[in-house]
Symmetry: C2
Subunit: 257 residues, 2 copies
Amino acid sequence: MQRKLVLVVEYDGTGYRGFQLQPQGATIQGELETAIRKLTGEKLRVVAASRTDAGVHAVGQVVSFRTGSALPPATVVRALNFYLPPAIAVKAAYEVAPDFDVQRQARSREYRYSILNSATPSPLRIRTSYWVPRRLEIGAMNQACACLLGKHDFASFTSPEGTAQGTVHTVYRAEVSRDGDTVTFDMEADSFLRHQVRLTVGSLIRVGLGKLSPGEFEGIVEAAQPGRAGPSAPAHGLCLRRVNYAPPLGDLMNEDI
Amino acid sequence: MQRKLVLVVEYDGTGYRGFQLQPQGATIQGELETAIRKLTGEKLRVVAASRTDAGVHAVGQVVSFRTGSALPPATVVRALNFYLPPAIAVKAAYEVAPDFDVQRQARSREYRYSILNSATPSPLRIRTSYWVPRRLEIGAMNQACACLLGKHDFASFTSPEGTAQGTVHTVYRAEVSRDGDTVTFDMEADSFLRHQVRLTVGSLIRVGLGKLSPGEFEGIVEAAQPGRAGPSAPAHGLCLRRVNYAPPLGDLMNEDI
């Protein structure tokens, strides 16, 4: 009998060409499918809630797959972690209804972009933070963020190819905070366009450096034209933190993670 | 005219055979001396406040060297960061008196050992945390820590070769704390024996797992015999946080870092 399993996955995206299988090079999807094949003998496809780009990290990516295996979820977690490379780990596994869709049933996704805002670089944070040596004005950045909240056409925050599946989304949170020399941008939305967070951060950094006013930032949002925002902030500062679901899965995840 | 400069240095020790020059393999000292040679043309030796072992990290290592260069300290910081590999960065530079000794004049050193205490591993923390899947009892570990405070013979916390320069030291802080699945051990002392923190953590983990009682831990301290503590916790969880000095250098460092 086929079951559907959902995995919560953490990865260091540094050495990977992104989540999705590519003709060449290692991907998160490829590593997960290889580990599942080693465990169950099945050659199958996994589906991700959010396809992260090359170099982007995740602490709470959610993927699903159908399997004929009857292994308990806790055993699947341990066994996959045995087969996976150190850069990828399964944090939890759940059995879900056969028609559960990790993409469509996601209520929201949470991304975090980390900036090291200090005069000197930090070797211990180099893999997960983008280094911006000049002082960022957090107040101005948050003023700009306010116009992102709610339902908008976010076409300015993607490339022309990123508009295929619609560009109107709802943003629940968009906030910049500072803790010492670490500046963090947290964004939660029902769905994200390709490169949306990195293009948003690229524009917000310009606001933080005084090169763009919060009003001009709002103008970029209102224009709703691909190519207006940016430049794109580098991939290694970005991390998919969490994908939220309705109960019962959402409640189970809240307990575990 | 020769000046003496002091550098505050951060490094990811993952790929290095420790601070000190070795007959073979890359070291932090070697990389610093190469970068200084590229900058000033001088072939010289740097001296570290605390010689970290292979794989150990630092966010506040302190090194000194004599130079004929008249470059301002701020320029030295920027230029050395240009020449250094990404795993090493200079955070600050100061000119000190010619007789200043970064080892002898250090009032104390602060080390932190980071443990990931969760059922599953964490790819994003794999370089800087030691993964202990079984639940650690922080209360018992802190009960054990109490007997480390003050002036003691710490001979149990090193190997026979580590006792050459005396084993009596003063510990100012030894404390375990938990933040979610991260368990942190912070230790400050006037000076440390070779492997002292890692052997202390190895024994404390045994206490946290219920394999050793706080009273037995105290017995290990009181025995003052090399080889009694341990096993040694792995290097990658350890980080030299800070070296403390009297004013004026101590005050300058407090302002900058």
